[in-house]
């Protein structure tokens, strides 16, 4: 399926404007606007229920916005595409609840994510070539799962699943990575390692990271967007937004 092209509208990689969505009358996202530049890494914070995950659902086609513009690469209208088409455009996602294929080995999880033609014919007669196997091995090394490659993904711990999912994202090699709470359920040591890994990834990918762990956000050292009740409350460097009165109010409760 060809992406509907409506001409170059913006130089941003991702452009959200005036996006709203409601579930049974409850406005989860209201008039949200956000832009991500090519090569940028952005951290998104916000209290529970702020709409962070819902925002990712909108970008990846899981949820259709009621109103608003969602453009990718300056010219592709994401609201008109389905999940698979959006993924094939180069948007990869790690879910808040780590979601891997429990009954496949760790290596097969990476293989399934590996960038390749996703057609029925190509997968039916697939043969993993040497460069592809090397790429899989590399990724398994990066996410430190090489020694467990033949184990079923279902046997991994929560933290290891998070890493496997990051590995799957790497294998997809998307232009934009949406990473929802990568450090949840990790020890401090693992969290620090995850921050290092994400910074590495951000060198040649655009990344949006949602996280509650402020230490982790500080470690990333990137521009922060604060979401609250479905719209942007503040944006800027972490020190600046955490000094913002309204942000403090939202986080400490009114």
């Amino acid at each position: 399926m060809n992406a509907p092209v409506t001409g170059q509208l913006t130089s941003s990689l991702l452009y959200l404007d005036g996006v709203s969505v409601s579930f049974d009358g409850f406005k989860a996202i209201r008039n949200l606007s956000l832009t991500i530049e090519p090569g940028e890494m952005r951290a998104i914070i916000g209290p529970n229920g702020a709409g962070k995950t819902t925002m990712m659902d909108i970008i990846t086609g899981k949820t259709k916005p009621d109103v608003g513009t969602v453009m990718f690469g300056g010219s592709v209208d994401l609201t008109r595409l389905d999940e698979a088409a959006i993924a094939n455009l180069g948007i990869g996602r790690k879910f808040q609840k780590p979601t891997v294929f429990d009954f496949h080995t760790i290596e097969d999880n990476i293989l399934l994510a590996l960038k390749s033609k996703r057609t029925v014919g190509k997968t039916l007669f697939w043969k993993t070539e040497v460069p592809q196997q090397r790429r899989i091995d590399d990724i398994l090394g990066i996410v430190k799962l090489a020694d467990k490659r033949d184990r079923l993904a279902g046997s991994l711990s929560h933290g290891q699943k998070q890493w496997l999912e990051i590995g799957m994202l790497l294998a997809q090699d998307p232009k934009l990575l949406l990473v929802d709470e990568p450090a949840a359920g990790m020890t401090d040591g693992e969290t620090a390692q995850t921050a290092v890994l994400l910074k590495e990834i951000a060198q040649d990918h655009s990344v949006i990271v949602v996280e509650h762990d402020m230490g982790f956000i500080r470690e990333l050292g990137v521009k922060v967007t604060v979401l609250h009740e479905g719209s942007v409350l503040a944006e800027g460097p972490l020190d600046q937004v955490s000094a913002n009165e309204r942000v403090v109010e939202v986080y400490l409760g009114r």
Partner: protein, 379 residues
């Protein structure tokens, strides 16, 4: 490429299965035709045909396992594809009767003469040709599955809802085929067959050949299904079974993968039905009965879902038990026994016979690194 596709990652389980099936293909017909009737090793023709029937069911079970065990599509209407394949074969066999029917009409089957029809309906055209009929054995179930799947999978009907509409599909066909004006013989169906490719269907030699053919097709169906499930496409399909939406977010068009396995599976079920009809000598609308499709699900569950070999084994074991049961004084209780079996398997052997057996085997092998003796295959 095809051979590589069919033989990739050949494992012991598949090897044993193929050896058994191809062994049966050779030995049973030979024993039936060559050994004297009194011999201990002689297989009577009736037994051979009965087992031929079981093996058709085994192929049907493998086709269901492909969609249910691997893709998570619980079809409660696979009997419909089996029956359609059977009808396609039945129509060919009807056309072979020629003037030997009760009314002696060279073109029209007896039931059409009886209904005072003057000419052959267009959808019967071509069925006097064996190659055409065989094409229809694949094409009719395949096309129905494709069209049905196209709508169902694109609109993301899953789970119980999908199961219910597959059940409705076979029920609708049951009602349709009961009607005389459909042109498929109404509730009597198609029967009184005489010849198949020039040989008398009743003849012992023909029956032996049909048995061997069934074994060969079972082996072929197994190899195709296995080729699919061990390929990367098979991994995608398992991924869909376990985490459908995650698979979508990786960029796979889930509906197309489901459509592919569903259609292949329906064609396979059609072949099973086509082999079944000449061996039992009749096809009638009762083959569309929802209960048949549900029984198929039970065979697969009993044998071991998602193992292919287990599906085939389950079909044979359950149907053999059914024959034993229903030929004795216990006959009225068969459905209770079947239901009980299903409950017992679900509760105590959730992985079915093959799954449980393999788990035991793995556990026994794990502590001792030296491989023990070959496990005796239950079938």
């Amino acid at each position: 490429m095809i051979t590589r596709f069919l033989l990739q990652n050949m494992d012991r389980r598949a090897g044993i299965f193929l050896a058994v099936v191809l062994g049966l293909a050779l030995l049973v017909p030979l024993s039936n035709l060559l050994l004297p009737v009194g011999s201990f090793l002689h297989v009577p023709t009736s037994t051979m045909s009965l087992w031929g029937k079981y093996l058709c069911y085994a192929l049907l079970a493998i086709s269901l396992d492909l969609v249910w065990g691997y893709c998570g599509i619980l079809s409660l209407g696979h009997g419909a594809f089996f029956a359609l394949g059977g009808y396609a074969m039945g129509m060919y066999l009807m056309r072979q009767i020629g003037t030997r029917g009760v009314y002696g009409n060279p073109i029209l089957p007896d039931f059409m003469v009886f209904l005072n029809w003057q000419e052959l309906p267009w959808y019967w055209w071509g069925f006097s040709s064996f190659p055409f009929a065989m094409l229809m054995v694949l094409a009719v179930p395949g096309l129905l599955a494709f069209v049905f799947g196209w709508f169902a999978f694109r609109s993301r009907v899953t789970g119980v809802y999908l199961s219910i509409i597959t059940q409705a599909l076979t029920y609708a066909l049951l009602l349709a085929f009961f009607r005389n004006d459909m042109g498929f013989g109404g509730n009597n169906g198609l029967t009184d067959f005489k010849d198949i490719v020039g040989f008398n269907v009743q003849a012992q030699g023909t029956r032996a050949a049909l048995f061997a053919m069934t074994c060969v097709m079972l082996a072929a169906g197994f190899l195709i299904a296995r080729g699919i499930v061990v390929s990367k496409l098979g991994k995608v399909v398992i991924a869909i079974r376990d985490a459908e939406s995650r698979t979508r977010f990786l960029g796979y068009r889930v509906d197309r993968f489901k459509l592919f396995v569903f259609t292949v599976s329906a064609c396979m079920a059609g072949v099973a039905g086509a082999l079944y009809v000449p061996q039992v000598g009749i096809i009638n609308p009762s083959e569309f009965a929802p209960a048949n499709s549900i029984e198929t699900v039970i065979w697969v569950a009993v044998g071991g879902r998602g193992t292919l070999v287990g599906a085939a084994l389950g079909a044979v074991v359950v149907n053999w038990a059914k024959t034993m049961f229903t030929s004795g004084f216990m006959a009225p209780y068969w459905l209770f026994a079947l239901g009980g079996l299903f409950v017992v398997v679900t509760l105590f052997l959730p992985k079915g016979i093959v799954g449980t057996f393999e788990a035991l085997w793995e556990r026994r092998r794990k502590p001792a690194p030296t491989p023990a003796a070959e496990p005796a295959p239950a079938e």
